[in-house]
Symmetry: C2
Subunit: 336 residues, 2 copies
DNA sequence: TTGTAAGCGTTATCAC
DNA sequence: GTGATAACGCTTACAA
């Protein structure tokens, strides 16, 4: 019960061996003779010995810790990544320090500095901006970096990302196979790289089908919420825009279906709607929505795998960028 | 760019002071003369010095790290707690090590041990079981504990929880104010303490209204999913059970509404449904659902506040249990 | 197979 | 206000 706090030395004394041997029992059991090992284990048990990783970190210069820096943890997309990362790291006995930047560069910077001070072995980062000077502290202490869900030059770091252009392509490709004419796109701001990429993919799908990319009828909404989607749906219904609609997230898509329905345009009877993300599971409307699924768990797992590989390889490591392809999840909203 | 890695000593040399002074500049700037301080800061800048927290941890016996152990991070209830905890911890410059137990006791145990080895200053735990012997390692190294979302004897640790009994009470109280007769409850397994508590609250509300608690018509479902809710809704419709229905989570509630609707029983026209949790925001059905809201962010914040207080108070600390009251979020599903 | 001993980079206790 | 210096607990050559 009491809160003692001895060290290797106490264990060594009780077991009648040296500290080096105790250390070996802990880290390289195979080099220790069996009877010695057992004596040491017994002493560890007896004293409730808890190794002090700070001492090991100090000595080795690196901590069995990975940093994970994301913009938001309530967002199910990132939550899924967090889950995958935590599981993968746990498999290799790494602790994960979670940092939520909330899109605040100053906060993100503090997180980087903190991870550097902790001598984190590596960090998985969904960066707010592409300003690499911010990472100098981490570089300085040798923390390895993986950029997640953003692309970056391979000379800088490893990265994993999901190909949003392809996501836009398969969405529109699918819509083109549904009866109707023309394509509408309901998008967020073009300044968001994901939105821009998905739109690029949409245009590319039109081009591949021998259609004019400029024939895409665009609705650029300020927010990417259900409300904004409803507004877009109304405008589509009112303006006679194409009723094969690609929305760049699921909320917009659900809103669009609702906005269309207000004037009696039912999906999928009179319209076809494709969303993006496949995140809002478990709700009625999402269950009917054809959408673009993103392999986020896989991305998280591979990110950790890359990081651990880089840690093993050391100097010999060469950065690489991995891209994951989204796949279409076909449901009712495009089934005529 | 190079990866140097000096220490206080190098900074001290460059600034022409002792390591003690550099340490003071970092930790107690006010005791250092201004010109000296400035010279030291310049040297720190010049050398890109990054303090090594492992050394400080080793010396001080405690790490500026909080552990957060939860069963699941994709679940929005826990995600909200994680967010609140991370923000609160960040305010006081604590790093948060996230551990996801996935309901696996062995894994949870590893997490505890790991936090002990890291000499975490404290840990916020949503424990799988109430087996306190599991925490011996943590106790041994002086890590302070706060139990979150579970109750525990005040002699053991501080805790924060949400009063599920009261949640059940206000839900049924509200249903009793809606036209109709009798109350149905759609619940998960009674072995889940939250389910049992919410049911207890429901019975208590009946009693307070002068009704027989045993008049509560119960449906105990194996899962707490939308599907299970649909099944319950069908059974309610078929059996003529009371159509004022309290469901112990939102998924069940959404399912019940759907199941009822299959036989033309529309909510709120012919039925009143109350859910629990207020988590599935942004979906059409959830927007219409009267439900019991849980102050989860507040719980997370207070948990960290308690932990930090305990860390400050040290020996003098006395444990305490804080209970948060849920509040009813009234929406369409009970509005006749 | 085991022991010896030199650090790792801080912080804290004294002197000055 | 500042400087020496002794821990803190572990890992790792190297020696035996």
């Amino acid at each position: 019960m009491g809160q003692r706090n001895l060290g290797l030395a106490a264990v060594a004394r009780l077991a009648g061996v040296s500290t080096a041997t105790v250390s070996n029992v802990l880290n390289r059991p195979h080099v220790v003779a069996v009877p010695t090992r057992e004596r040491v284990m017994a002493a560890i048990e007896e004293l409730d010995f808890v190794p002090n990783r700070a001492a090991a970190t100090l000595r080795q210069g690196t901590n069995r810790v990975l940093g994970l820096v994301i913009p938001d943890v309530v967002n199910p997309f990132y939550a899924a990544i967090v889950d995958a990362v935590v599981v993968a790291a746990d498999r290799d006995r790494y602790a994960v320090v979670l940092c939520v930047s909330h899109e605040d560069p100053a906060r993100e910077q503090r997180h980087f500095d903190m991870l550097a001070e902790q001598r984190a072995a590596g960090a998985l980062v969904v960066p707010i901006s592409a300003d690499w000077s911010r990472l100098s502290q981490l570089r300085m202490v040798g923390t390895r970096l993986i950029v997640v869900d953003r692309s970056i030059d391979e000379s800088e770091a490893c990265s994993v990302a999901i190909d949003d252009v392809h996501g836009g392509e398969i969405a529109v490709e699918h819509l083109l196979g549904v009866p109707g004419s023309g394509i509408s796109i309901v998008n967020g701001s073009h300044t968001i790289v994901q939105c821009e990429d998905r739109r690029t993919g949409a245009r590319s799908a039109l081009a591949s089908a021998g259609l004019d990319p400029d024939s895409l009828v665009e609705f650029e909404m300020r927010d990417m919420t259900i409300e904004a989607g409803v507004e877009a749906g109304r405008r589509i219904a009112a303006s006679g825009a194409p009723r094969r609609v690609f929305c760049t997230n699921d909320q917009l898509a659900i809103g669009v279906m609702r906005g269309l329905a207000e004037t009696g345009v039912e999906t999928p009877r009179d319209a076809a709607v494709v969303g993006y993300g496949d995140l809002a599971f478990g709700t009625e409307e999402a269950r009917r929505l054809t959408t673009v699924g993103q392999p986020k768990q896989e991305m998280g797992e591979v990110a950790v795998a890359k990081l651990l590989a880089e840690l093993q390889e050391g100097k010999a490591h060469r950065h690489s960028a991995t891209t994951f392809q989204p796949r279409l999840v076909v449901r009712e909203s495009t089934g005529r």
